[in-house]
């Protein structure tokens, strides 16, 4: 990416601009996940066409119906003429969709017996990602399952490399595996729900994802089962010029509960990388899914070069009555974020929640928010969005609350708070509210504030240096969101915030 001003002047509609490489050598920004792992990987040539889709499908040994579905998605995507959605308040040079590798996978190793046998590069990566050694062993498949709270799935360049705790989960009938495995293990469930929440016609990036998705996580929680541990996926973009298109599908059957976490990082690269994921959640009667994200894709350097374009479609369908879907996200990474985790409140008495912290620094842009679509009676949604803008960062909250005529007694509470650091950044709030049932109750609060000089001086007077002082105040601003996260994740989130703010104040 190039700095914003230059970029706006260059914005053209032709799809073919390949080079976003900058001449700047400054990768000075502290991004400690910016390493590249030299893992042997299999990669197919750049380009997007039916043949590429067929290769992906063949590599994954997919059934015919899935290939057909992918091809339909591809045809739909191509019919859109590379015209990306333009309504979001983000700008970037056009993406050349033919200049991307659509498949890269670490070459599989068969059943390592000890840590020594595991590809040391892979272990090193787990280390740098900050995964505890016990989890590493489990990920590498060398230790017995022990007592712990988190089952981890690691996805490298869209390919799931390891999943822990299979046994514990299987005993409860829980399926937690990669989507490709799920296609084999639970084909009926996958076929029934894949694309049922986000059809491939939904939007530009969803169409692309449906055509070329390589992997992602799949979760099925059977009737009446409360998943006893947190399920977690680490997503990692590793290879260069590789798009990341994972697809996640989570189904909570009647009365089931699951808390699912995802963490994302990518290496430092001077050119931008495309990440277009789709996440679909479905809750049946009385079920609950709690979905938490720590998104820390490489944000680009201080001048706005490189960084991940994070164009993600996340949606949940609260299909059953009394069911609940809750999204919590902490977005600190990516050059551009375009993401609106949403809930379709179809079942009567269902609940949708969205808790978000989005931080932009340097030249990052984030256009994020949620959609709550009330269809069932007595449905209830809560939206709390906190935007933090620093440097030249631009952050937009875009939210839509829709009350359909069928949704008697629907309630929505929305709160959007923006915090500005410095005077070159921006925060924007774009709420759409559509009420088609007079019994609805809507509440909306919004605020924009700056870190006040008085607050800063108070912290300085207590011995905190300016960076720590900002961190303390901003962390306080985010507290309402962090407390929605599982404990370990909350610590990590607050740590991420600190790292992302480094160099913001001098």
């Amino acid at each position: 990416m190039v700095p914003r001003q230059a970029l706006e002047a260059n914005l053209v509609t032709a799809p073919k601009v390949i080079s976003r490489t900058s001449t700047s050598d400054d990768l000075a920004r502290e991004y400690k996940w910016g390493f590249v792992t030299e893992i042997e990987s299999e990669i197919i040539p750049k380009g997007l066409n039916e043949e590429v889709v067929r290769i992906i499908s063949r590599k994954k040994e997919e059934p015919e119906w899935l290939l057909e579905w992918r091809l339909k998605a591809l045809r739909h995507f191509l019919s859109l003429n590379y015209e990306e959605p333009k309504w979001a308040k983000v700008s970037h040079p056009p993406i050349d969709f033919q200049d991307i590798h659509y498949y890269a996978a670490p070459v599989k190793q068969a059943g390592p017996k000890s840590l020594e046998e595991v590809d040391p590069q892979l272990l090193e990566t787990f280390n740098k990602l900050g995964i505890p050694i016990q989890e590493q062993k489990r990920l590498a498949g060398v230790t017995e399952e022990g007592p712990s709270k988190v089952a981890v799935d690691a996805v490298f360049d869209s390919i799931s490399v390891a999943t822990t705790y299979q046994k514990t989960l299987e005993e409860k009938g829980i399926i937690f595996c990669s989507v490709s495995e799920a296609v084999k293990k639970a084909p009926d469930i996958v076929r029934k729900y894949l694309g049922s929440v986000v059809p491939y016609t939904d939007n530009f990036y969803a169409a692309l994802n449906s055509a070329v998705f390589s992997d992602g996580s799949f979760v099925y929680i059977p009737k009446g089962v409360r998943c006893p541990i947190e399920l977690m996926t680490y997503f990692r973009i590793n290879s260069a010029n590789t798009g990341q298109f994972e697809r996640t599908l989570i189904i909570a059957d009647e009365g089931a509960y699951v808390s699912y976490l995802e963490g994302c990082t990518a290496p430092i690269r001077k050119t931008s990388q495309l990440h277009a994921a789709v996440v679909e959640l479905v809750t049946l009667d009385n079920a609950e899914i709690k979905y938490s994200t720590l998104q820390n894709w490489y944000p680009g350097d201080k001048q706005g070069n490189g960084g991940v374009y994070n164009f993600v479609t996340k949606r949940g369908k609260a299909l059953g009555k009394n069911s609940k879907i809750s999204w919590t996200q902490v977005e600190t990474g990516s050059a551009i974020t375009w993401k609106y985790p949403s809930v379709i409140l179809q079942g009567d008495n269902s609940t949708g929640e969205f808790y978000s912290v989005a931080l932009v620094n340097n030249y990052q842009q984030a256009d994020t928010g949620t959609k709550m679509i009330h269809i069932g009676k007595n449905t209830k949604s809560t939206i709390v969005a906190k935007g933090i803008s620093a440097g030249h960062g631009q952050s937009t909250y875009r939210g839509q609350v829709q009350i359909m005529p069928t949704a008697d007694n629907a309630t929505n509470f929305t709160q959007c708070d923006s915090l500005l650091i410095g005077d070159k950044c921006g925060a924007h709030t774009v709420p759409y509210i559509e009420v088609r049932n007079p019994t609805a109750r809507m509440e909306h609060e919004a605020s924009t504030s700056k870190v006040s000089d008085d607050q800063l001086f108070y912290c300085l007077q207590r011995g905190l240096d300016p960076e720590e002082a900002h961190y303390v105040i901003i962390n306080g601003f985010c507290r309402g969101i962090f407390k929605e996260l599982p404990f370990e994740f909350a610590m990590e989130a607050s740590q991420l915030l600190r790292v992302s703010l480094e160099g913001t104040v001098g």
Partner: protein
Amino acid sequence: MASTNGTKQPLLEVRGLRAAVTATGQEILKGVDLTVNVGEVHAVMGPNGSGKSTLVNVIAGRPDFAVTAGQVHYAGQDLLAMLPDRRAREGVFLAFQYPVELPGVRPWQFMKASVDALRKHRGLPEIGAREFDAMFKAAVKEMEMDADLMKRSVNEGFSGGEKKRNEMIQLALMEPRLALLDETDSGLDIDALKTVAAGVNKRRGPERSVLLVTHYQRLLGYITPDFVHVLVDGRIALSGGPELAHELEAKGYDWLKESAGTAR
């Protein structure tokens, strides 16, 4: 001048200090001279708007004020050359007249961060959570603060008196060498006043000096200062011993206003 005892070590030396409001250039301090020796307690009194808060805030390094002339030495160092956070870490503590709210910031975490910042400055490792927790609880108890309040955000929804106690808790935890108390007694009920006074008295000693701003003889009934100064229109109009506070209580400030500028 405050100190008369030649054997004493000066901790804070203010010389010809002039300061203006940064935004407007309006001069508030018009040449202040003051010496606080190690272990002494000084009271600063004076009418509203005379510059008392400005004085202690300038010593703490608040950017709202710009020093236009004069010097401040602290433990022999040039205090004005230090950034405000550095001053704090060197042991200068200001109990604010109007403590600010920090939404979402937990007192425990905030105060531990302070203590750790001070320790780091002295080359010590972070304090253990358990050790700090014991200190924290002791300080909350000593200042007779409702422990439930400490589960809120820093100063958020605290009453005036609770905010002042909260400042005292931080004073207790940070153990400063120079405590600047800006009307810490205002808004306190009689029991709280005694608690605060006891807190200050307990910390009197050879390793600590106190500069307290107050309007009331009432506080000085519990804390006997070594010296009392009267600030009028940005200058110290009069200095004396504890008896001066009584005199002011009886006579008010008007008689000093006429002679302002002729500081002794």
